[in-house]
Symmetry: C2
Subunit: 243 residues, 2 copies
């Protein structure tokens, strides 16, 4: 499967994705699912992919080629005037890739679908987040829905719902996400470390941090090991039940 989360904080955007890909339990490997493009001082665009790997790699390659070949008929995401237009372009490209595979007349047991989390900022507008469906349409994050998940979303959701706060620091956001990812990794073998993350500070128009947390990363281990004790504490603080 996959697990990706993107969050809209007051101070900017945070992205985290796992890197496990699999074609059955007996065919597991690591692949990058977080990609970004930027024009320093003007725009930053980040997307995370979930779904059929051939589809998502084709999508990213197409977006990437168009961003370099200025004579392409399809507009580049580096030229679109707003994040909304970028989301439309990504959605349109995604739909085209899926359709081109689905309409070959051959039959496949696998689905060609994919879901994209897209975020970034273009000068003149605020930072925005979108969840793009395989059909190419999309929804946008808002104050009521300040984060999106994709892939195996359920195990890691309760902690996000409870502890998310748009005021929080980037450091705390990464801590929260590490807990959410750890809970998911512990429960679903098709989600796995290393974890890629990216931080975008609002109105900076450059990527603040982009890095990878390995499975044996000391921080990841300390959160994974410490969370059991911390939850024990949290349970202790709740009122006791009496029969």
């Amino acid at each position: 499967m996959t697990y990706c989360v993107c969050m809209r904080l007051n101070r900017g955007l945070v992205f985290m994705s796992d890197t496990r890909t699999n074609a059955g339990l007996d065919n597991i490997s690591t692949t990058k699912k977080l990609f970004s493009w930027s024009v320093p001082g003007e725009r930053v665009i980040t997307l995370m992919t979930a779904g059929n790997l051939a589809t998502t790699q084709a999508l990213v390659s197409l977006l990437d080629e168009r961003s370099k070949a200025t004579a392409e008929r399809s507009p580049s995401i580096l030229q679109e005037p707003s994040m909304f237009q970028i989301a439309r372009e990504v959605g349109k490209t995604l739909r085209e890739v899926i359709q081109s595979n689905a309409m070959t007349g051959t039959t496949a047991s696998a689905s060609f679908g994919a879901t994209i989390l897209l975020g970034g900022q273009v000068k003149g507008g605020p930072p925005r987040l979108f969840l793009i469906y395989p059909e190419g349409n999309f929804i946008e994050a808002s104050d009521d829905n300040p984060f999106f998940q994709s892939g195996e979303t359920k195990y890691g959701k309760p902690i996000l719902v409870r502890a998310f706060n748009p005021e929080m620091s980037f450091e705390r956001a990464i801590k929260l996400l590490t807990v959410s990812f750890d809970s998911t990794i512990k429960s679903n073998l098709s989600v796995g470390a290393p974890l890629d993350y990216l931080i975008y500070e609002a109105d900076s128009f450059e990527i603040a941090h982009e890095s990878r947390m390995e499975a044996d990363d000391p921080y990841f281990s300390s959160v994974s090991n410490g969370w059991g004790d911390a939850l024990e504490q949290a349970l202790n603080e709740l009122p006791d039940f009496t029969f």
Copy 2:
């Protein structure tokens, strides 16, 4: 959907189930999913149902009727010599009910399947827990797998995995389950209060507590409201991330 959990503690068994049943978002009602039979001083049997309501009600009615009509050809669960034999009898009855509906020649959009969590103790053996599949076969809880969930299991699982301890008191078990159910109820509309729970103390051969926690129960509210703050605390106790 449904959410049910049963746990095997050192001091006995704990069962909790939600009570929401639905046939679509526009047809929701409340139904009991936790049932028990006992011969004081000799055996206690409890089961919780998840799945097609017609199937699970037929199953419970059949088990109930046989426990009263001693001349029935099928043996009563009150006469079987062990929990293992009771699980076999429940599984056989479940399979028969499902088959009798599935083989009528009519077509239904709904599945007739159901999953049963069964637990209890018969004099001469220890307390045991089983998860019975629609096909009638089953698995048993062990030291490695000391609890079973059924229905919407994902949202409420991480807290169980982290905080379960076979040494804990019944009061703490109910507190832990309340948190797990609250997380699930917050995320899935097809799981809802009131919550039914039952406590069985090992070697007592009688039900210690059986009761219902309503949605406006002061304890449920205090856990639901307090858990956000407690998690905030738990996050604070983890080491901070630094870029």
